[in-house]
């Protein structure tokens, strides 16, 4: 039957008439809203990138390229950025795109109730110069600003106001939660949350279409085995992600291609720097060994990262020595070397720190957040046991995980971090800076790591225009974090997409699936 259909497809391909190129794809998480400013999460922003557009967008290699703005330049001596807007662009409902929409979208996206407002923390004012020129004034020089708003999507002010959606509503939802009106290459023609979302090309799109899709459908499939079965049986054309263990098998299958890349997400271990004592030790109840840098170094030397990558990750991930991967801006090649796997060294360090017989502690881990997270944590537990420190592994779903970490219920934890800005400043701001509610830094620094020099360097990195000087500061910060073993970075998670072999597409390192780069053959 399938063969017959395939034959029919071949015959149809030779037919001269324009034929429908339907494309279906499956992801593990449905975008929870169609509102581009309500939730700052990869599934939402990744999907909406096909529907809405920003002033700038990222290309196939993540370079920043013009989208709704044709050009941009710094104002004066770093007081802000001036964007020149593209003319003749219309929204899906036919309304014209102007500077008013930019101002409106800025107000909407930077409102207190919007999840995207941190993008605009450096912005002091937005000025509409004329219908096609907008100035973004910043509190301090901000060299990376244009790139940092690549996911900020422009919404039509008239449409949003007419439909009572002038602000996003996370709690009760509104018109924009289910409906869209962007300027992008595709428009949403049907939306059934959790079931399917149907897209059709937007005929009046300003850019030239590279794709040949006439209709696309997105379906969430949570169970990885089911998603894989759907791909293998041809029920869907594309799945993301492919379970890492199935990569080798899929590569042998001629009907299916595997597209691999290195994701931005660094997987690391974190420690309770501030805690007085261990929480879950059966004997070390009066001290916190992890406060001693030697113990943290011992952990780093005890873990055999190459073995984890070889077996659990099946050779599909790369080691990493810092909080960002080599593909990110600000990565320090000179500090690329990871602490070697050296159990003897680890034991020596433990002895030096006063724990010759090791100690026991509690290790928290997710079991549904990162690729094979539970298996990795199990392996780490075994490796630590081999140098004498016995972890009690507690692996839990992510919905229970963050509350536990916030309540400091851990002695060591697993964390994955993907810098939204693709820049080394991002993890420094969220993971390494001393937590400070007022400065809005350190909000994911659960362990309360604190280093005065890092705190001093962060604002300097943020406002340094000169790339060389900026990189020198990042180098210094990276060195401090490595020397103090603030975290133990282990590897960069791979991106693995599975696609039927008649489909051509481009994988972007941020794991966004861009429909306009898909060709169905």
């Amino acid at each position: 039957m399938r063969r017959l259909l395939r034959l029919a497809a071949v015959i149809a391909a030779f037919a001269p008439a324009v034929q429908a190129e339907e494309f279906t794809w499956a992801v593990n998480t449905d975008p929870q809203t169609m509102d581009p400013h309500a939730v700052n999460s990869a599934p939402v922003l990744g999907f909406l990138n096909n529907v809405y557009e920003g002033l700038v967008r990222r290309g196939k290699d993540m370079t920043v390229e013009p989208a709704l703005a044709t050009s941009w330049e710094p104002i004066g001596n770093g007081e802000g950025w001036r964007f020149t807007l593209r003319q003749g662009v219309t929204f899906h409902d036919g309304a014209e795109f102007t500077a008013q929409d930019v101002l409106f979208s800025y107000q909407r996206a930077s409102d207190e109730v919007s999840d995207t407002r941190s993008w605009f923390a450096p912005v002091s004012d937005v000025v509409v110069v004329d219908d096609y020129t907008v100035d973004f004034m910043t509190t301090a020089p901000n060299p990376i600003f244009p790139g940092s708003i690549a996911n900020w999507m422009i919404m039509d002010s008239g449409w949003a106001e007419a439909n009572n959606a002038a602000l996003p509503d996370k709690e009760n939802g509104n018109y924009a939660t289910l409906n869209t009106n962007g300027t992008g290459a595709f428009r949403v023609t049907a939306r059934e949350p959790g079931l399917r979302t149907v897209l059709e090309p937007f005929d009046s799109w300003w850019d030239e279409a590279e794709h040949n899709i006439t209709r696309a459908e997105l379906t969430p499939i949570q169970n990885p085995a089911t998603a894989l079965a759907a791909l293998l049986s041809g029920d869907v054309d594309f799945i993301n992600p492919v379970p890492i263990q199935d990569v080798a098998r899929l590569k042998e299958n001629s009907d299916v291609d595997v597209i691999q890349g290195i994701e931005a997400r660094v997987i690391m271990l974190g420690f309770p720097h501030e805690a007085e004592t261990l929480k879950y030790s059966s004997e070390t109840t009066d001290a916190n060994p992890f406060a001693d840098v030697r113990v943290r170094q011992a952990v780093a030397h005890a873990i055999n990262v190459p073995a984890i990558l070889q077996t659990i990750m099946r050779g599909n991930a790369e080691e990493v020595s810092q909080l960002v991967s080599a593909a990110m801006q600000g990565y320090v090649p000179a500090l690329a070397e990871r602490p070697a796997h050296d159990p003897d060294r680890a034991r020596a360090l433990l002895t030096e720190a006063g724990y010759p017989d090791g100690f026991s502690f509690g290790f928290k881990c997710t079991n549904n957040r990162y690729l094979n997270d539970e298996a990795v944590c199990q392996a780490i537990t075994g490796m630590l046991a081999q140098v004498g420190i016995t972890a009690t592994l507690d692996a839990m779903p992510v919905q229970n995980y963050w509350p536990e970490l916030r309540a400091d219920n851990y002695d060591m934890f697993l964390l994955g971090w993907s810098p939204g800005t693709f820049d080394a400043e991002h993890p420094i701001r969220f993971l390494a800076a001393t937590p400070n509610e007022e400065l809005r830094v350190g909000s994911w620094n659960f362990g309360g790591y604190s280093n005065a020099r890092v705190d001093e360097l962060l604002p300097m990195i943020q406002s340094e225009i000169d790339p060389v000087a900026r990189q020198a500061m990042i180098d210094e910060t990276t060195k401090i974090l490595q020397d103090e073993m603030a975290y133990v970075p282990m590897y960069v998670q791979p991106l693995v997409w599975g696609v039927r072999s008649n489909i051509e597409l481009t994988q972007r390192p941020d794991d966004f699936f861009i429909l306009r780069w898909v060709t169905v053959n």
Binding site: P243, Q245, R249, Y280, A385, D394
Partner: protein, 314 residues
């Protein structure tokens, strides 16, 4: 029946009849004998796992990750080690892991059913015999209980237990949480059957007589009514055992099961199903086959028991 030795110790007439009848039909049923033998072998293997298993998979320090994904009876490409049934993703010997896992599955199953049985029988007897508001409360509680999917019950108990136990006991705690969760979702059917039977029995002459001569309600329930409702309870218990072992596997699939560092058969299947498409079939096949054989044998025994205890069917 005559070749069955008469027990030395005097027993109640009921027990005597039960035993001799059971043994008689047992000997005539090859299916029952084979199932019983299989169950016995599996139980012994589980109990003596530390003596039989070549490795101790629950000791993380003894594992070598590089042994991961070794196929059965073939040397590992890196370490050269060879394993009877291969290894899983952590380099654990599948054979040893099954033996240890079966221990946990059987323990959880037996303990859960025992808990459900004691709880259900007690409440069933009381509600059937006492009646009135007591009965109403108990049976309506049973309604509430039926409403809650066992996964949610498990999650609730997990959550509460997590709040009160320190992490180093949490691995053991997971087992007790499973027992409680499965047992709690199972007691209702015991209670219902016992209550129904009690309602019928309590109006019979012999119970009325016992009441007349001044026996206490507790004694009447235990000495007179309980023995007469025991056969259906026994049948339910056997079938529940198989169900409980499977329920544990299902809970593991839904994310509340035995911890991965001390896996049960269910956890092994949950882990193994991730490797169904990737070619490491042994990680799924052997635990699944063990579970199938175990549950099937218990079910077949339950089947036989049902027929054997129902004399009218013979």
């Amino acid at each position: 029946m005559s070749d069955f030795p008469i027990p030395v110790k005097p027993k109640s007439r009921f027990r005597l009849a039960l035993e001799s009848d059971l043994f008689y039909t047992f000997k005539r049923s090859p299916v029952a004998m084979v199932s019983a033998a299989v169950v016995l072998v599996l139980v012994l293997a589980a109990v003596f796992a530390p003596l039989i298993a070549p490795t101790n998979p629950f000791n993380p320090a003894s594992l070598n990750l590089m042994n991961g994904f070794t196929p059965p009876m073939a040397p590992n490409a890196f370490t050269g080690d060879s394993f009877l049934l291969g290894t899983d993703d952590q380099g654990r010997d599948v054979f040893s892991t099954i033996l240890y896992g079966m221990r946990i599955s059987l323990f959880v199953g037996v303990a859960a059913v025992f808990f459900a049985m004691v709880f259900g029988i007690t409440l069933g007897l009381i509600s059937g015999y006492v009646g009135g508001w007591t009965e109403t409360i108990i049976m309506r509680t049973a309604d509430v209980q039926l409403t809650f999917p066992s996964i949610l019950v498990a999650m609730l108990i997990f959550g509460v237990a997590k709040g009160v136990t320190p992490v180093e006991y949490r691995d053991q705690m997971a087992i007790w949480v499973l027992i409680l969760a499965i047992g709690l979702s199972d007691w209702v059917q015991f209670a219902r059957v016992v209550r129904g039977a009690t309602l019928v029995e309590k109006n019979k002459e012999y119970v009325q007589a016992a009441r007349l001569i001044g026996r206490k309600p507790g004694a009447i329930m235990l000495r007179h009514i309980l023995p007469n409702v025991l056969s259906p309870v026994l049948v339910i218990a056997t079938i529940s055992l198989a169900l409980a072992i499977i329920a544990e596997a299902t809970l593991s699939f839904l994310g509340v099961g035995a911890p991965p560092t001390q896996p049960s058969l269910g956890t092994l299947i949950r882990i193994g199903q991730g490797f169904l498409f990737s070619g490491e079939w042994w990680i799924l096949l052997f635990p699944a086959a063990t579970l199938l054989v175990l549950a099937l044998s218990v079910n077949l025994l339950g089947d036989w028991l049902r027929d054997a205890l129902n004399p009218r069917l013979r």
